[in-house]
């Protein structure tokens, strides 16, 4: 087994890893905001239901959630609801949206009441206050915890192989099955590059937002 061949097949796996990562991020970022609004809702039943939902999703291992999304609809309905890949993305999106929602909630609740009141006395609407005044301050506040969560997501994608998705670790394990171990260790390099690039990106955002303090 040559180095080039292994690298190419790991890159194939990395493509799956990246797709799971990117789709999860793109969908979970806005969904998390919706969930955080639910958990902060003045309508108490909605707030309670949302909080219980978040508790369950954060309390059950993600690996189990992936398995549930893939197998349970099949048991109940006779046909699976999602493809393997679809199941992984669905489970990841819900799971990460819940984590994000808690980060958003913490960020939103940390904004001083005076910021809302200043907007109010200047005649701004609730949504103007949220989008024009509060949001950028929240973004700055949550950048560090979000960067942690996003980096965790990169590595969590490896859980997808529990339902036979050939992401990068699974691609390497396919070699291990033939007694070839080094590709498995080699995957670390890909993860490190991936995470390194993300860290640079977050560092760039942090710098961009350096001009103001919240």
């Amino acid at each position: 087994m040559g180095f080039v061949e292994v690298t190419l097949s790991l890159l194939n796996g990395l493509e799956q890893t990246f797709l799971i990562f990117a789709l999860t991020l793109v969908l979970a970022l806005p969904l998390g905001l919706v969930i955080s609004f639910g958990s902060m809702s003045g309508f108490k039943p909605l707030a309670y239901i949302t909080k219980i939902f978040v508790w369950i999703i954060r309390g059950v291992p993600l690996m189990l959630q992936v398995i549930i999304v893939f197998y349970v609809p099949g048991f109940l309905l006779g046909t699976p609801l999602f493809t393997r890949f679809g199941s992984v993305v669905a489970a990841f999106v819900i799971n990460y949206a819940c984590y994000f929602s808690e980060i958003y909630r913490g960020g939103i609740e940390s904004i001083a009441k005076g910021q809302y009141e200043a907007g109010q006395v200047l005649g701004m609407t609730k949504s103007q206050i949220f989008f024009k005044v509060v949001l950028m301050q929240v973004v700055k506040r949550i950048l560090a915890p979000m960067s942690n969560e996003v980096i965790t997501l990169v590595k969590d994608t490896a859980l997808a192989r529990v339902i036979m998705i050939v992401e990068i670790i699974q691609a390497a394990q396919n070699y291990a099955a033939y007694g070839l171990m080094w590709p498995l260790f080699y995957t670390a390099v890909f993860y490190l590059v991936f995470v390194g690039l993300l860290s640079l990106l977050f560092g760039f955002f942090e710098k961009k937002l350096d001009y103001y303090k919240v």
């Binding site: 001083a112 005076g114 910021q115 009141e117 200043a118 907007g119 109010q120 006395v121 200047l122 005649g123 701004m124 609407t125 609730k126 103007q128 024009k132 005044v133 950028m136 301050q137 700055k140 001009y211 103001y212 303090k213 919240v214």
Partner: protein
């Protein structure tokens, strides 16, 4: 000419009666100073005027038009229109940290434009006017050269002057100040008080809650001493400071004099 007429405002928080029936009136161009010990309801009164609190009973009118009546439920939209008759400068400035000084002044006026249906040319003219007005106001508070600075780059006194300009940008009929210098180091209070004093020269109607007795004495046309949610005494600065009638007023003035020396 009476501009502001406040009638029997009452406000409870749960079982605590914070305002127990406050009535007063203010002429156009007058400056009203409200003094009183902490917890007497001064902030709550300003917050009721600015629709940050909904008074439980009472009403107030501006220029003869009732803008608030506790018996009426107002929609968010109505409140937004009515509250613009008032401006409020907070103790803690509450500038928007992510916006430059200039943007802090123009944000709300520009957002208000969006609700109006204007042609592209009208809109452009309106925006230019907002920006010009904001620049004038900044010059007015002595901060023309700080237009592109961010709040975190300003001293407390400068931030408060920006906050004053920001409130003025919306052309309120009555500008309220809630202890505008209490969060400032003593050496910075002067610059803010001078700006407020300067506004009086422009015939602005203002309500200033303050602990600066010298300022109240020299700048106000009318002084209210509040105690326990009621107006204990109201009068000209001479009447309140030189010839206070109420024992509570006397005690308060004595204790604030002691603090000064």
């Amino acid at each position: 000419m009476v501009l502001l007429e406040v009638k029997d405002i009452k406000k409870n928080f749960g079982k605590t009666e914070v305002l127990k029936g406050v009535s007063f009136s203010l002429d156009k161009g007058e400056v009203l100073a409200i003094i009183g010990s902490s917890g007497s309801g001064k902030t709550t009164l300003l917050r009721c005027l600015n629709f940050l609190e909904h008074a439980d009973s009472g009403s107030f009118s501006v220029d003869g038009e009732t803008v608030f009546d506790a018996a009426v439920e107002y929609s968010d939209h109505e409140i937004r229109e009515k509250r613009l008759k008032f401006g409020l400068v907070f103790q803690s400035f509450n500038l928007f940290p992510q916006y430059s000084v200039m943007e802090n002044l123009t944000l709300a006026p520009k957002l208000a434009l969006k609700k109006k249906k204007l042609s592209a040319a009208e809109k452009k003219a309106a925006i230019a006017e907002i920006e010009q007005k904001a620049a004038e106001l900044l010059a007015r508070v002595g901060l023309a050269e700080k237009r592109d600075a961010y709040p975190c780059q300003l001293s407390g006194g400068q931030q408060q002057r920006v906050a004053i300009a920001r409130a003025l940008a919306l052309k309120p009929e009555i500008l309220c100040f809630d202890e505008p210098t209490s969060a400032l180091d003593p050496e910075l209070t002067g610059e803010v008080l001078r700006v407020i004093k300067g506004l009086k020269g422009e015939d602005r109607t203002m309500v200033v809650v303050t602990h600066e007795m010298e300022f109240a004495k020299n700048v106000a046309d009318k002084v209210i001493f509040m105690a326990d949610g009621v107006i204990e005494e109201i009068g000209t600065p001479e009447e309140i400071f030189e010839h206070p009638q109420s024992e509570k007023t006397k005690a308060f003035l004595n204790s604030s004099l002691e603090k000064m020396y």
